[in-house]
């Protein structure tokens, strides 16, 4: 709401104008969700199955090319979707501009680190190093 009693509601509503963005965010969130509909059930089912086969067999499962590719894709889609979703949550609930900007940046860094960590782990198992 307006900070001053002298600012008109029209001024508040117009604000800084429409930013002409948001649609690509909307599309990215929907498309990553679509990918996750397929990838998450595969991931949960396979990871539970692999976990029951013992440590070496589980490593071998991750090291197979198809599984390694799908694992990285799952992490990519999931963390990307998470970044987009958390962005909306932060924008919804955090009003203070500085705190909001800091959290939005942290959100990007945090999900990027998680994604890189998954990729490196899979690569390490795949290459056997």
């Amino acid at each position: 709401m307006a900070d001053s009693q002298f600012v008109t509601p029209t001024k508040v509503t117009r604000g800084l104008g429409a930013s002409k963005t948001g649609t690509s965010h909307h599309i990215r969130q929907r498309v990553s969700a679509l990918a996750l509909i397929v990838l998450v059930p595969w991931f949960l089912f396979s990871i539970m199955k692999a976990a029951l086969t013992g440590y070496d067999a589980a490593l071998a499962w991750v090291a197979s090319p198809l599984n390694a590719i799908l694992l990285v894709l799952t992490a990519g889609a999931a963390f990307y979707h998470m970044r987009l979703g958390m962005q909306v949550v932060i924008e919804d609930y955090i009003e203070k501009p500085g705190t909001r900007a800091a959290l939005l940046i942290l959100n990007t860094f945090f999900t990027a680190v998680l994604f890189v960590a998954v990729v490196m782990s899979v690569l390490r198992i795949w290459t056997g190093s």
Binding site: M1, A2, T8, P9, T10, V12, T13, R14, G15, A18, S19, K20, T21, G22, T23, S24, H25, H26, I27, V88, E91, D92, Y93, I94, E95, K96
Partner: protein, 260 residues
């Protein structure tokens, strides 16, 4: 951080219990939000006992019963008393609606609370200040915009195109939907809200309107449009049975369509 509790001076306190009407056999308890800016005190819940046999059939009748027989200081807005003007929108038993079409039969059991529409400044008692809401409606420019020479008689439209406006033009701007939307509570200064966006869509799909792209431009914004998270409270409460969430989804669809 968004404010999750009411500020100190908005916390509603226990108010007065008004005497029961004499000789009534069918009494019902109503707790009504009272606030007066001159008193410099917090709002309060006043308790009224209403003789349901003498109070008519609708909640607006109950308010008139109270004003005429118990407490003439109770303030509320009303005009048409038949669901056309949208003036008497308020929160009845925890749900936004218009008092004139909310019948006794629809009420849940127990004490009925009546308060002003949520999350708007209160002018007095059940009267919210809706100037921000009206400014948002004005923002979507709810009128026909054309550049072609105006026809001699009228702008024509096929019957099929006209049916596209059904479920949209009926909106009476009562603000029940916008003030029931959590996203509007948190970001009501930047998010246009379901009512304004329903009207925006009503003009976006009007076959006679020539400003579709310009209208989409004015809406394309993470806050003005994309704060709708399909919570659907708007469609739940609309006293005219409209579905603003669906209209907003269609606006998003148009946004995607124009870049793909």
């Amino acid at each position: 951080m968004v404010q999750l509790t009411l500020p100190q001076n908005s916390k509603v306190q226990k108010g007065k219990t008004w005497p029961k009407p004499q000789g009534a056999t069918n009494l019902r308890e109503f707790r009504i939000y009272r606030y007066s800016p001159e008193e410099k005190t917090n709002p309060r819940w006043d308790t009224y006992w209403v003789d349901m046999d003498r109070a008519g059939t609708m909640i607006l009748d109950v308010l008139f019963y109270i004003k005429n027989n118990i407490d003439p200081t109770l303030a509320f807005r009303r005009s048409c008393r038949e669901g056309v003007c949208g003036s008497c929108a308020m929160n009845i038993a925890g749900r936004n609606t218009i008092a004139c079409t909310k019948g006794f039969d629809d009420l849940p059991g127990g004490v009925i609370t009546i308060s002003p529409l949520p999350n708007q400044p209160v002018v007095r008692d059940l009267i919210p200040d809706l100037t921000n809401f009206y400014a948002q409606h004005a923002y979507v420019q709810p009128f026909l915009k054309t550049d072609s020479p105006t026809p001699e008689k009228e702008w024509r439209q096929s019957e099929e195109d006209r049916t596209q406006l059904d479920g949209l033009y009926e909106c009476i701007l009562c603000a029940s939907c916008s003030t029931s939307c959590p996203s509007y509570w948190w970001n009501g200064d930047k998010y246009l809200g379901p009512a304004a966006l329903l009207q925006a869509y009503r003009w976006l799909i009007d076959s006679r309107d020539e400003a579709t792209g310009e209208r989409l431009d004015a809406l394309e914004d993470p806050f003005k449009l994309y704060r709708c998270h399909t919570i659907m409270n708007c469609a739940q409460v609309c006293p005219k049975g409209l579905n603003p969430a669906k209209a907003i989804a269609k606006i998003k669809h148009m946004m995607v369509e124009r870049i793909s």
